[in-house]
Symmetry: C2
Subunit: 368 residues, 2 copies
Amino acid sequence: MAPRSKKTVDATSSPISMADLARELGVSMTTISRALSDHHSIGPATKQRVLKLAKKLNYQPNHLAAALRKGQSKLIGVIVPYIEGRFFATVVHGIETAASKAGFNVIICQSSEDVAQERKNVETLLSAQVAGILVSLSRDTNDFRHFEKVRKRGIPLVFFDRVLESDTVNAVVLNDYDGGYQVTRHLLEQGCRRIGHFAGPQHLNIYRNRRQGYLDALESYQLPPDEQLIIYSDMTLEDGTESMRQLLALPDGGVDAVFSAGDTAVLGALQHLKSKRVAVPQQVALAGFSNEAFTAITEPMLTSVDQRCEEMGQAAVRLFLELAESRGDSAFLQRQVILQPRLFIRESSLQGTPSLDTVAKQANGISC
Amino acid sequence: MAPRSKKTVDATSSPISMADLARELGVSMTTISRALSDHHSIGPATKQRVLKLAKKLNYQPNHLAAALRKGQSKLIGVIVPYIEGRFFATVVHGIETAASKAGFNVIICQSSEDVAQERKNVETLLSAQVAGILVSLSRDTNDFRHFEKVRKRGIPLVFFDRVLESDTVNAVVLNDYDGGYQVTRHLLEQGCRRIGHFAGPQHLNIYRNRRQGYLDALESYQLPPDEQLIIYSDMTLEDGTESMRQLLALPDGGVDAVFSAGDTAVLGALQHLKSKRVAVPQQVALAGFSNEAFTAITEPMLTSVDQRCEEMGQAAVRLFLELAESRGDSAFLQRQVILQPRLFIRESSLQGTPSLDTVAKQANGISC
DNA sequence: TTGTACGCGTTATCAG
DNA sequence: CTGATAACGCGTACAA
């Protein structure tokens, strides 16, 4: 029976509360509260005394208690399909940076591309009493039912990147249409006329819009759409390889360019072309979408469309702050922020005049 | 004076509380509380009635209130230098997945490699009353002072990847030493004898250990260390290029291999070698560290050491849960989890016998 | 098995 | 300018 030391060394000192400060100074808690929250009706002398003691005793405000009382926390909930991967990681970076600048903390949730999980995430965030929710939809989300409660509670809700266009929502999106248009125009200007397209799942706004941009660019050159040249897939590396194989096997000589709605797939295409000794960009020009880091590493380097990931995160937070500002009366005020994509032209799409200085300038522009 | 509609349509219905349920059913709040928290002393009949109504009225528990009451929230705070970039993004993915499985939410903070910011992050998380803190130190953190409060409060604190070895802390780290040792041994087995090393900032445990593994592997082959062959830098792409230039310029014929403590730098080296028409791996073999996605894309593909990012996140959460379990009495119980790295051998380091099937098997192993 | 009453730490309302 | 008091929503000794 070794006598256990009474005054145990790891005494976990309980945190200091406003009541402690009040007792110590012989004033009321109200005074403490006012001093700390910089209220106007407070004597500068007492205020200093309070702040002094707070510093000395290492007072930590309890956000939970404040939130409970005010019915308003300083937490923002974020729901993304997954966090690893450059796009969402960078968006989240933008969100966290902007949010913390505005005094908010960020709770992160992953839906794993699963509606059921997304539903749970919403519940959890509501239970956590978040001040707002920013969400990029899972791949197979088809309706807004699970977001109705959020709206009912008057909690600001902002969608980004992946949204359902069917409904009126606050959203920050990239102008995917323009991205598809720009890149296709670029390929046309390089002299390409049989341009293939790797298209993603069409129920997602982003892939639908990129495809439409592609089609409209063709039309601006009086080129009729050719469904043979559009390959639909989930845009994985293997999908890209297989899609490229299909295009090469077309009866009338294949294509002289491909615009892929994703970089991963275009990488697969590039690998296939190299294995088949098809010269890129001389015989087939390539362009992708997302401006992934590896596009500046491949040989040749890949032309791609930058999605402004970080700006998207910042914009989402800004939009949330606006909505939070005008609580209630903006419930019907639908705000849309549309970011302009940026085309990064690299070797894989330069046919005739290399215009090398332009390339050099932009080649390393992995800004996002 | 347009008369404002009294029954405004966007009536943000206030959330249902336990009191509401109690009133509705004509029972006390205690009963409600017990029914919802699955307490033992509760009639199965009343329990069902409560749960029924809760579902019907869409009751959302208020975690804030519960946390305030219990002095224990269901939040885990995570501090990383930055979130974008594969390593931390994937670790955070692992953390969030494991945490949510255990019923915890994750608050994410970025220190931006800045101690001052890290200090602020700690304060914020304490104010948010998190149940624990997981942290990977900023590059220029040299002491633990700002973590003392965390310890004082008895809040579980777990470090991962970047730690200060000077102190006794709970930590999850990669066996960087072994990673450096393995990869250097591999280069030696390929016949290389003048192996250069790109070393990172030596005050960081990870870079110091990788370097030591390199040195010990050399010694196991009776090769004396040669400080000329070790280039110190911040391991950026440009650093890699410049470091490679320096090694090539050495008087006695340069090197026949390089082990870089980071993939980005080894990529710079590869680019430089290609521009100088030095054959990789025939004239100079290359190996990096981190198993970045691009290592499987370059030509030749780059040999690298995988850091088990996702496992690291999971392990950090597991460790936190253990500590949270045994509150208090484990304050001095120091736990260390050391993950074993995995070497991915690719083309850039294969000299003599290609043993191609081995390569093929591992080439795409971007598991992390 | 159920109900009563109090407290977690903070802020807002009302008197002085 | 300051203080007493009530509430926010929930959990839990204690009593019934």
